[in-house]
C-alpha cells in the first residue's frame, strides 16, 4: 500500500516561498513523475514527502496517516538519489543490506533478500566490491537494490539517471519501468527530462515555481496541454507557438502546432518559409524554417528521407484538428 496525499502543503525557506499551497494525490501503485525546469520545486516536493525537509504548513498523508512528526526513517519510503549516495566504506552487499540491518532483520533473511535483489539487478558478481570499484550504471543499480530490499510503501527517485550517459539512461529507464510493472509499488520520480516523464509515467505532474501546472497521463498532457507552459514543456521538439494574425484567424491569442502535425511540400501549402538548420536523426528530419511571418522559427518534422537545402523555400500546412488554441492569459480554449 502506498497512497500519498498532499493537502495544502507549503514550504518556505526564510522569506522565500518555494512551494505555495499545493494539493496532490498519488494513488497506490502509480508511477508519478514530477517534471519541470530546474528550480521549479520538484526536488523540494520529493524531499518533503521523504521527510528530509519539514513542511511549513499543510499535511502529507501516507496511507492515510499524517506524517509531519514521523522521521524519514519510519515513513516506510525508499529513496534513490541523483548522486547514488552509496556508503563508500561498505561493500555492495553491505550497502544493500543496510536498510535490512536497520530494520532488525536477522542475518539469514538479510542474505536471502540481498541475493534476491542482486540477482534481479545483475549485481551478483559484484557483491563483494566497494562502490568505488563500480561503473556509474552499476552504482545506480546498487542504489536501486538498496531501495527495493526493504519492500517500501513507495519509492522516491530524485533525478536518478542524470549522471549516466545517454545509452545507459535509456537502458535504466526500461529497467525502472520493468521494476514498476513487477512490483506494482507506488513510485515518485523527479526529472527535468520530459522524455523520461513521457516514457515512464502513469501520471505526470508538471511543476513551475512550486505550482502544479497540470496533472495527467502523458498522452493527456500531449494532446491537451492546459496552458502555454505545459504546451511548450511537453513534447520534443517543442510545440510551435504562433501569435498575431494567424492566431486571430482561429479566435485565439496564441495558437500552437506540434512539429509532427505540419506537412511540408515544395510547391504548395498554407504557410511558407526558408529552410534554416536541418537536423537529420535518421528516422526523422527536423527543419527549422525561418521568414514565415508567423514566428522567429517554425520547427517541422518530416520523414528521415526528406531533404531540403539550407536556404530553400518550402511550404507547410498544419493539420487543423491538431491546432491548440490559447487565450490572452495563456490558458487553453476548449
Amino acid at each position: 500500500m502506498g497512497q500519498i496525499v498532499l493537502e495544502q502543503v507549503t514550504k518556505s525557506f526564510g522569506d522565500v516561498t518555494v512551494i505555495p499551497p499545493l494539493d496532490l494525490t498519488i494513488e497506490d501503485g502509480e508511477f508519478a513523475v514530477f517534471v519541470g525546469p530546474s528550480g521549479c520545486g520538484k526536488s523540494t516536493l520529493l524531499r518533503l514527502i521523504a521527510g528530509l525537509e519539514d513542511v511549513t504548513s499543510g499535511e502529507i498523508r501516507i496511507d492515510g496517516k499524517e506524517c509531519a512528526s514521523i522521521p524519514p526513517a519510519r515513513r516506510g519510503l525508499a529513496m534513490v538519489f541523483q548522486s547514488y549516495a552509496l556508503y563508500p566504506h561498505m561493500t555492495v552487499r553491505k550497502n544493500i543490506a543496510f536498510p535490512l540491518r536497520m530494520a532488525g532483520f536477522d542475518r539469514a533473511e538479510q542474505d536471502r533478500r540481498v541475493e534476491q535483489a542482486a540477482a534481479v539487478l545483475n549485481l551478483t558478481d559484484y557483491l563483494d566490491r566497494r562502490p568505488g570499484q563500480l561503473s556509474g550504471g552499476q552504482r545506480q543499480r546498487v542504489a536501486i537494490g538498496r531501495a527495493i530490499v526493504r519492500e517500501p510503501a513507495a519509492f522516491l527517485f530524485d533525478e536518478p539517471l542524470s549522471n549516466l550517459d545517454a545509452a545507459l539512461r535509456v537502458g535504466m529507464r526500461l529497467e525502472i519501468s520493468e521494476l514498476h510493472n513487477r512490483l506494482q509499488t507506488t513510485m515518485i520520480y523527479v526529472t527535468h527530462d520530459q522524455v523520461e516523464a513521457m516514457t515512464m509515467a502513469d501520471k505526470i505532474v508538471v511543476l513551475r515555481a512550486g505550482h502544479v501546472e497540470q496533472v495527467g497521463s502523458p498522452l493527456d498532457l500531449y494532446r491537451a496541454p492546459r496552458n502555454l507552459f505545459v504546451a511548450g514543456f511537453i513534447g520534443s521538439p517543442k510545440m510551435n507557438l504562433i501569435e498575431g494574425e494567424e492566431a486571430v484567424k482561429h479566435n485565439a491569442t496564441t495558437i500552437g502546432i506540434r512539429p509532427e502535425h505540419i506537412s511540408i511540400s515544395e510547391s504548395e501549402g498554407r504557410w511558407s518559409g526558408i529552410v534554416g538548420v536541418s537536423e537529420h536523426l535518421g528516422s526523422d528530419t527536423f527543419f527549422h524554417v525561418h521568414k514565415t511571418g508567423l514566428a522567429d522559427s517554425i520547427t517541422v518534422r518530416a520523414d528521415g528521407e526528406v531533404g531540403f537545402k539550407h536556404g530553400a523555400r518550402i511550404h507547410m500546412t498544419p493539420r487543423d484538428d491538431m491546432i491548440h488554441r490559447f487565450d490572452e492569459k495563456g490558458l487553453r480554449i476548449a
Binding site: A50, P71, P72, M79, F81, P88, H89, M102
Partner: protein, 276 residues
C-alpha cells in the same frame, strides 16, 4: 611547456629542505645528546658534539631522584582522558554544525576559536579560584577537564572541516534507510570520517601531552604530569643541564615515538582539504 627540474635545482632544494628540517629538530637533538653527557661536558665551551664519554649516569640519577612512572601515568591519563572526553563532545557538536547549520553556525565557530586567542594567563586567576572551591586543585580529573576545554575549539574545528567534506546526501540516504541519529553517526558518519577523527585524536594527545601552562599551575605533586617532571629539574639546584636534558628526553620520548609511527596520518590531517 613543462617546467624542467634540473639535477642542480633538485640538489639545492634537497639541501635547503634538510637544512630547515635540521634547524627545527636541532634543539631536540641537542637535548638528547646532552642527556648522555656528564654535567661538565654539558656546559663545555666550545661544545662537544658526538665525541664525548657517552654515559647513562643522568638517567640513573633522574630515575633515582624522582618517580618517572608516576608522572608518565599522569600524563597518559590526562592526555588520553581529555582527548576522549573532548571527542565525545566534539563529534556531535561538529556533526550538528556541519550538517544542520543555522544562521549562527559560522559565528559560533569563530567565537569558539576566539577563545584560543585569549592569553591563558588571563583566566588563570578565576580558574584557580574555581579549582580551589571545587577541590579540583592538583587532581587528574580537574586537569583533564581543563585540557579538554582548552583543546575543544581545535577539535570541533578540525572535525567540522572533515565532516564538511562528507556529502550530506549519504547521511540522508542513511536516514531514508531507517537509521536513527545514533546509527547514522555510528555506522555511516564515523567510519567515513575515520582518517579525520584519527588525526584529530592524535593532534589532541600531542597538544595535551605538551601543555605546560595549566599543568604547571594547577598541579603540585599528586596529579603532576611529565611537564612538571621536566620543570622540577630546571629550578632549584641551579644548572644541571645534563640531568634536565635526560628528564626532558624521557618526557618527550613517548610522544615522539607515537608521532613517528602516526606521521602519515598526521600529515594527511594537517593538510586535509588543501589538496583534492
Amino acid at each position: 611547456m613543462a617546467r624542467t627540474v634540473t639535477t642542480q635545482r633538485k640538489i639545492v632544494t634537497t639541501l635547503v629542505a634538510w637544512g630547515i628540517g635540521l634547524l627545527i629538530f636541532f634543539p631536540i637533538l641537542w637535548t638528547i645528546l646532552t642527556s648522555f653527557k656528564t654535567e661538565a661536558q654539558a656546559i663545555a665551551d666550545p661544545p662537544v658534539w658526538f665525541f664525548f664519554d657517552w654515559t647513562l649516569e643522568n638517567y640513573r640519577v633522574v630515575q633515582e631522584r624522582s618517580n618517572y612512572s608516576r608522572f608518565l601515568w599522569n600524563s597518559i591519563i590526562i592526555a588520553g582522558g581529555s582527548t576522549l572526553l573532548g571527542m565525545i563532545v566534539a563529534i556531535p557538536a561538529a556533526w550538528s554544525m556541519a550538517f544542520v547549520p543555522s544562521a549562527q553556525t559560522k559565528n559560533i565557530l569563530l567565537w569558539m576559536l576566539s577563545t584560543k586567542m585569549l592569553p591563558a594567563v588571563g583566566v588563570l586567576y578565576p580558574i584557580y579560584l574555581i579549582f580551589i572551591q571545587l577541590g579540583l586543585l592538583d587532581t587528574r580529573v580537574g586537569l583533564t577537564i581543563v585540557l579538554m576545554l582548552i583543546n575543544l575549539p581545535i577539535m570541533v574545528w578540525m572535525l567540522y572541516t572533515y565532516f564538511k567534506e562528507i556529502p550530506g546526501e549519504i547521511l540522508e540516504a542513511a536516514r531514508m534507510d531507517g537509521a536513527g541519529l545514533r546509527e547514522e553517526i555510528l555506522f555511516v558518519l564515523t567510519p567515513m570520517a575515520i582518517p579525520g577523527i584519527a588525526s584529530t585524536i592524535l593532534l589532541n594527545i600531542i597538544l595535551a601531552w605538551n601543555e605546560a601552562f595549566w599543568t604547571l599551575n594547577l598541579t603540585a605533586a599528586r596529579a603532576a604530569p611529565l611537564t612538571a617532571f621536566i620543570a622540577s629539574y630546571s629550578s632549584p639546584e641551579g644548572l644541571f643541564y645534563a640531568k634536565l636534558s635526560a628528564a626532558s628526553t624521557m618526557a618527550i620520548a613517548p610522544i615522539l615515538i607515537l608521532g613517528w609511527f602516526s606521521q602519515k596520518q598526521l600529515v594527511r590531517g594537517l593538510t586535509f582539504g588543501a589538496v583534492k
